[in-house]
Symmetry: C2
């Protein structure tokens, strides 16, 4: 699998528009210990020709322009063969509405994510302007499906998560609300395990990680009370369905046990791992875990 990180930050990006926390101030000031990050999205391909985007960030336009392989090759064209949504959060879906210019789209999502986007959403009419504008492909849990010509195959794995913020109180949670993706290259045999939103451990998650060649994992928060201590919020990481990386109960021990290339992604602007020379980053490095960044490319 050819992998290119288009954006590595959690919703809001890094820096976040209304945030003057230490990290955001430092990156704005040009402190070389930090890199600016756009919001989470990753492009994958078997052949470098057809690409599939995991999540559609609000910054999708600049993300496409920053990666030459995603540029059109004809007057109206896109090498983007499809999009995959891991949940219905706005930072994963808003970008779809920036792809509305008369281009047929294929979107892979669970039924609950699709319904959350399509129902009670007048904006969605912009993606219904001609027959076949959006072709939905259902991500049925634990079933391996072809992407495009089938050189890549994807399996969606239910992981602990939550209903998107804007749907809270609107409908009951469902197993398909939040998924990880295992993307297998049928030729190389490489497997990318992509779990960018994980509320906590589960057997399905462990299985997904075990069989992977490369792991991308929820790196939203280092600690549970990160926002509270910074005076920036009242909610703990767990209230937002994110498993913190650090601490005794953190995800790091699970990730460290994997012994394979592992990258934190969906990193929140407040996260101390964003500082390249900080103690938390060192703790990651010591167990072979890296922090993803915009433009990172790898192959598995």
């Amino acid at each position: 699998v050819l992998i290119r990180v288009l954006g590595a930050a959690a919703g809001g990006g890094f820096p976040q528009w209304n945030c003057g926390c230490d990290n955001c101030r430092a990156v704005r000031a040009g402190d070389s210990a930090f890199r600016a990050l756009t919001q989470e999205s990753v492009a994958v391909s078997a052949d470098g020709d057809a690409w599939f985007l995991i999540n559609a960030s609000p910054e999708i336009r600049s993300q496409i322009e920053a990666f030459e392989r995603l540029w059109p090759r004809a007057p109206r064209h896109s090498p983007i063969g499809g999009l995959l949504l891991t949940n219905g959060d706005l930072d994963h879906c808003l970008g779809l509405f920036s792809l509305r210019e008369s281009q047929p789209l294929v979107v892979h999502a669970t039924e609950s994510v699709r319904a959350g986007l399509v129902n009670d959403n007048v904006f969605y009419r912009t993606l219904e302007r001609f027959p076949g504008q959006v072709t939905w492909r259902s991500l049925d849990l634990d079933e391996e499906l072809p992407l495009g010509d089938g050189a890549l195959r994807v399996t969606a794995v239910a992981v602990h998560g939550k209903v998107p913020l804007h749907l809270e109180g609107r409908r009951a949670p469902s197993a398909g609300d939040n998924v990880g993706l295992v993307i297998r290259d049928t030729r190389s045999g490489g497997r990318l395990a992509y779990f960018s939103t994980v509320a906590g451990p589960s057997e399905a998650l462990s299985r997904g990680l075990d069989e992977a060649s490369v792991v991308f994992f929820d790196g939203t928060f280092w600690s549970s009370d990160e926002l509270i201590r910074a005076g920036l919020g009242t909610r703990r990481a767990e209230d937002m369905a994110h498993w913190p990386t650090g601490g005794k109960e953190g995800s790091l021990s699970l990730l460290a046990s994997q012994k394979k290339p592992t990258y934190l992604i969906h990193v929140n602007n407040t996260n101390p791992v964003l500082r390249e020379d900080g103690a938390e980053r060192l703790a990651l490095r010591q167990v072979g875990v890296e922090v993803a960044y915009d433009g990172l490319e790898l192959t598995c």
Copy 2:
């Protein structure tokens, strides 16, 4: 009025993600006759301290980061004192949903634009998470209203336009669907006339231009059949409610008659005026009309 152009392109930006027209190919190739442009938005201020954004483009995050005066000055803060929407098109409104992080917003819009955003839109719940998250201020036509502390005052002027694409067939057109804005600085006396979507001439438009010190005007298309001739679409400029600049019936003669600093904005990626050394750009320059670009600053 302090004016800073955050983005000068029409919906889709320049280059547009799925467009390989001559202009888009040239700007991607680094041709120095072209500048890349993000989607239309302009920031205005009386004192350089509090700023008001005309339109909320999908690229609002990168636009804010590109202009230091819009950066937060406290752990949770924004110098953006309000936003003004000229119509309900997605390229003018999607950015609101990228400003959802617990920050109170003030949005000025006509009642019909507000209703188009708020009704039948499950995404809007993300802007209703706490009391006072969004304060709507109604832009009543032809009535001058204060912005923030009142150093700037704004008057909305109905201009020919149309219902946003995603609301077509959903409701009847209304006079408030599409407005120009006249923004007056009560101290300097300067007046910005901002008319980024204009379907054709009208008395109200001419009055707005007459009293202005600086004009920003709809520069979407140079000619009616621009998309058709390029093989990129079937609709004429007029079908999309844009008055072309060139030709015998074009807006240029009205603009030329104004004899004041005048900038085309909301420029479509196909527009030949984007070529700095082209014949169309020369025709503009000969009558004192310029093309706006990201980062342009002026004062009136």
